[in-house]
Symmetry: C2
Subunit: 458 residues, 2 copies
């Protein structure tokens, strides 16, 4: 039997997320992102359609790599303006019961003590529906925004991230024992102080000597997402992440990443199934293959490859304005750039140029859309699940909200017929839905910081 497939909407608190330019489509509503109604309607729609969750990206900083200017990013709304993603969660949670929320937060610029409380608060308010996509940031512009002269070297960011995780695990898992909270009105005892402990962390980057401010939330540690693709990033993911977000157009390369991450996780004492893999994908679908193709042709008239180039330049750290259209794009002297170029060359072959990149970005992004009838798409999802070991998909929006309506109406019923998609939500917090238990498994590194044995963990 095939594994169960999970679907998340992949979005951002902004106008132009992945598929740049589509906000200009007359039926697109994403300019409503500043209003609560936009997001509460969105959440209701996804839950009615049995989506597993909404995964919200974020970026601190602005895309100013292309031509050394932010002007094109502002003009095309390429992830700017971008509002805080966390603030969307309480409103969306208030109108749903099961939908999960994956929140991207850059740990580099957040005080771990305050951040830990924010996540605990959200985990409480949502009844345990919170995931955290751990990012360390990659933009010089964000470093300048918070008073640094530039970002840290890539691997140093992961060393800081490891220590950061240690601090927040101590707060989430170790500060309040299970059973500390009594709510005993008769004896005026809210919590038993002997079961509440300050953490004492004295590390290279952080010193924290304090009791966690929040009482234990349903999951304590939010479900941990990560998207690192470099060797250091994969090592981090294999140690901490419960869900890993991968991108890739080719089955073989994704198979390799999936296998590598699971192997690394096992090496670190975890089970291969302790990590779920989500593939980023963009779907354009309709009642028939022909209708889907026509919809794609309609959408692509609004896509902007210029705006997509702004995004690609910032993601890869390459100023494409310095290259002619047919000039081979060469690596600079930065390890990150070399790594990105290598990945691009693997995908595009050795003759990789700016012209080729622009041609690839048919729908305003480097991510190639999957276009087809519900049946076409369902088979594709099942193939990725079966052959590459993918557990779920983070589906970028194209024209919202109709793109999600189309998936709900055309694709999910077929997945359900094939027995690979739920027909109702299972109960409990997000981690319980994903892994059968609300708390980190005992073999997860975060569980080593516990001061009490959880009653519900395997």
């Amino acid at each position: 039997m095939s594994r169960q497939i999970r679907l998340n909407a992949f979005d951002m608190n902004c106008v132009g997320h992945i598929q740049q330019g589509l906000w200009a489509h007359p039926r697109d509503t994403s300019t409503g992102y500043t209003t609560l109604k936009y997001w509460t309607d969105y959440a209701r729609r996804l839950e009615a359609g049995l989506f597993d969750g909404i995964f919200l990206a974020d970026v601190i900083g602005i895309y100013d790599v292309l031509g050394g200017s932010y002007e094109a990013a502002v003009r095309g709304a390429v992830q700017v303006p971008v509002n805080d993603p966390m603030m969307l969660v309480p409103a969306m949670a208030a109108v749903t019961e099961h939908l999960a929320f994956g929140i991207t937060a850059n740990l580099t610029y957040e005080q771990p003590y305050l951040f830990a409380r924010r996540m605990s608060t959200l985990d409480h308010l949502t009844g345990g529906r919170i995931g955290w996509n751990i990012v360390t940031g990659y933009l010089d512009s964000s470093a300048r925004a918070v008073g640094l002269t530039g970002q840290m070297a890539h691997d140093d960011r992961y060393d800081l991230a490891d220590e950061y995780m240690e601090v927040v695990y101590k707060l989430w898992e170790g500060s309040w024992e299970d059973g500390a909270v009594l709510r005993d009105r008769a004896n005026h005892i809210y919590a038993e102080p002997a079961k509440v402990h300050p953490i004492h962390h004295q590390g290279r980057q952080y010193k924290v000597d304090a009791v966690h401010l929040s009482e234990p939330s349903p999951q304590r540690t939010p479900v941990l997402y990560q998207a690192g693709s470099s060797p250091r990033g994969r090592a981090f993911a294999a140690g901490h992440a419960e869900c890993v977000f991968v991108n890739g157009q080719k089955m073989e390369s994704v198979q390799e990443i999936v296998g590598d991450i699971r192997t690394r996780a096992v090496t670190q004492g975890r089970l291969a199934d302790d990590v779920k893999l989500f593939l980023g994908a963009t779907i354009v679908t309709g009642r028939t293959t022909k209708e889907a193709q026509e919809k794609f042709e309609d959408y692509r008239r609004y896509a902007s490859s210029e705006a997509a180039l702004v995004h690609a330049a910032a993601s890869m750290g390459i100023d494409f304005d310095k290259f002619d259209l047919d000039e081979p794009v060469e690596a600079g002297n930065s390890a990150a750039i070399i790594s990105n170029i290598t990945a691009m060359n693997r995908a595009a072959g050795p003759r990789w140029t700016k012209r080729l990149l622009l041609e690839q970005m048919v729908l305003g992004s480097r991510q190639q859309p999957w276009v087809g009838s519900g049946e076409d798409i369902a088979e594709r999802l099942i193939a990725w699940s079966d052959q590459a070991g993918i557990d779920g998909f983070n589906l970028s929006r194209t024209v919202v909200p109709e793109c999600f309506d189309d998936i709900i109406e055309q694709v999910i019923p077929i997945l359900q017929d094939r027995g690979v998609y739920k027909t109702a939500y299972s109960p409990g917090p997000l981690r319980q839905k994903l892994f059968g238990t609300p708390r980190l498994p005992i073999r997860h590194i975060g569980a080593t910081h516990r001061t009490s044995v959880p009653t519900e963990s395997p």
Copy 2:
């Protein structure tokens, strides 16, 4: 004609806020603070009753001054556990239209660039119903939580706060000009880059070189609240604050504070009416004076003066365990302590002791409750408004939610009859409701950072 009186519920994302111990009352529901439903019901109730807003306190750190231990604070739920207040706003805003949200945030530990975006996001999502209560913190325990060895000296905190305000004003008021956002689908122009500017701040504490991530929100700068009572705190308030939160039991001393703050504001080029004064108060009311008195006697059986002492010790920085009950409490060598003791002595006379303090805390707090029928209370509010120049009241909860129901049913109708309370909300953002305009007035220091002339400001 009397001025219009404004009422805010004064609360905190925790169990024990001001009146310690009352959570143990059988009708109190505050242990539900971790759920969304608790807060959405609360917000609906306040808006149905024409409350102006809900003002949410916060504290980073734990009350460990009394006896040098946090144990009593944990046992009695004295502002611990305490969850993040900001996360309550989107859910409460989703079920209301006019209710305002005053959010306490300690600027000492928040990156101004990220904090500015959080507030802009909330101002967008609420349609301009956000106020920010600016605090600088006063606990050593919070400094230790974020990796410092102790808190900064009192006046240094305000110097840092002045610079912080400059950074966030630049982001809120100066980065995006009015008219920058076009949302021009036909020409694929979301915003006009020539009207979007990076701020360049190079100060003693902060260096920020970045475009604000959020497009302009209805108010841009949230309505600014402050509660400083020291001379340096009043100077800060007179320069920045639009609403000042004062505490005091005696009409004359509050009159003096109100007059001083308005005078200081005028000295700084503002109008006396640019600052609204809110007095902290606790009300126990009923259909008759007798019923109110009986309710008070019932409530006080649950109040905890021990828990109140934990709170008072931390607020004043005095470990009362070091004093016998009838020993005069003497000042230590800290200016803050001397200032607090002086204030207490003014209130209590020269024989001030721990016994006297404990006796004062009849309802679990140093704040004396006002007990009386709706008419008694209404007259008291009007007297404070007329005689001390108070514009509104931040009303602490006692037993929730009935304490607010009582005020809505018994007090507000009488205030309305006397013509000092609205019978319907006026339209627009919070600043418009308070001052007739959604944007900072041109004479406010924040307005000096504008790069465009607002169309709606006086």
